[in-house]
Amino acid sequence: ACGTTDNEEEAENSNTENETEETAEENNEEEASTEKETIVVGASSVPHAEILEEAVPLLEEEGIELQIETYQDYVFPNDDLENGTLDANYFQHIPYLETQMEEKGFDFVNLGGIHFEPMGIYSKNIENLEDVQEGTVVIMSNSVSDHGRVLALLESEGLIKLDENVDIVDATVNDVVENPLNLEFDTDIDAGFLPEFYEREADSLVAINTNYAIEAGLTPSEDSLVIEGSDTPYVNVIAARSEDENNEALQKLVEVLRSEEIQNFINEKYEGAVVPVSE
């Protein structure tokens, strides 16, 4: 099976049939909803796959079988959406989706935002951003799509200045034009390791996605030195091929994910690390 890590038994069953079904799937969707319909959604492990897992029984009631493919990286889910392996994916935020569509020429649509994970900057020893010393290390994940976000946060706090000609979303550490404190950037840590770095690199600033921060036992609202607010553009969305813009099953999926039940689940489970949106 294709690396799924689904919780639900229903999903489990389809897992083994997956290889044989894979080619047939595309046809199935086109024929639409006479029988039980199957949609395949690619997702990152946390929290996307977990949220989807919660939605499985709800969609079941609607006669839709949801199959979840979990991905380790951020490149293949879009590739697979393009080549038809997936019907939709749920792992990326709007800026990333847009860049990808532009660069790779993907013909995707945003079916709707589901949540955002506020990025926060934490440090074990530094109490306040005013106390940041000269030459302090800033640690962020190795996901290129996070870099602009973190830099934007730092800029908003006046620690650095970015090149005005560069779109914030695409900014990298090479676009820092003013760096009065000579901050050192460490940009290639696997996101999963960030809590460890927070713990052990006590004198650094660590930019952690809130979900990992919570897993590590931090309380974002109290422990963060600075955290993204709800005005963020980094909302995670369900993306699909443009031709499926009006696919009923996918519409249902978005609907269910924005339902009160799921929103409550998100709020309870992630305690602020993942914030549901229903725009």
């Binding site: 099976a1 294709c2 690396g3 799924t4 890590t5 689904d6 919780n7 038994e9 489990e12 897992n15 083994t16 997956n18 290889e19 894979e22 080619t23 492990s45 946390v46 977990e50 493919e69 979990t70 991905y71 380790q72 990286d73 293949f76 697979d80 392996t85 999963g192 809590p195 990992y212 897993e215 590590a216």
Partner: protein
């Protein structure tokens, strides 16, 4: 007890992942064995002072072997997409991981085969030559049998390394225990899942090692 010690472990997932690891590893081991022995023999035979001494073929084989050992696994997977797609019609799932696994591991095993073949007593090869044996016969009846303990220990080592590789094959949805440990365990910080997966991997490794050791011992008549 399982529930108590491993609250986040879903037995079915674990079972499926184990199967995936076993499938991937066993098929990849077979492929690696065949390809590795062929490449290893080529390296050995075309080397200076040996039966098929041939600088050109040796050079080419050495380059192939080294290049494929050198490429980071994730890049290798990427490079092999067209080939995998052509061969299997898909580039996802554990089957799609096989070409990369085999092509990643075979050059490595080829070197171990070469090391083993170099240890074969030259006098014995001479004896076979003096009997007028074809190179084919020398390979099948002298080189391989006389280096068998090293070949078996070598494939054991390679098989265990392959298990490590399968974890990386997770990026293309190959599944397996390593991937489960990373995604459900490490990323979600459910360390009981990591532990369970690791224990299962260790068990598999031990079984492989024991089989390898027993075979080596049974075969070694020196």
């Amino acid at each position: 007890m399982l529930k108590e010690w491993f609250p986040n472990v879903i037995p079915e997932d674990l079972w499926i992942a184990t199967q995936e690891t076993l499938y991937m590893t066993s098929i990849a081991v077979i492929g690696t064995l065949i390809l590795g022995i062929i490449l290893g023999l080529l390296l050995f035979l075309t080397d200076r002072g040996n039966l098929w001494e041939n600088r050109v073929i040796y050079g080419i084989t050495a380059i192939v072997v080294n290049v494929f050992r050198a490429i980071p696994f994730i890049i290798l997977i990427l490079l092999l997409f067209p080939f995998t797609d052509f061969l299997l019609g898909t580039i996802r799932g554990w089957k799609a991981a096989l070409p990369a696994l085999i092509i990643g591991a075979a050059p490595f095993y080829a070197r171990l085969v070469e090391i083993g073949l170099k240890e074969v007593d030259k006098g014995v090869i001479e004896a076979a030559k003096s009997m007028g044996a074809r190179t084919h016969t020398i390979i099948m009846k002298v080189l391989l049998p006389e280096s068998m303990p090293a070949l078996i220990s070598g494939i054991t080592v390679t098989a265990i390394a392959l298990i490590g590789y399968t974890a990386m094959a997770g990026v293309i949805g190959a599944g397996g225990l390593g991937n489960l440990a990373y995604l459900q365990g490490f990323q979600r910080r459910d360390f009981d899942v990591v532990l369970a997966c690791t224990i299962l991997i260790i068990i598999i490794v031990f079984i492989l090692q024991v089989i390898g050791d027993l075979l080596t011992k049974a075969i070694d008549k020196r």
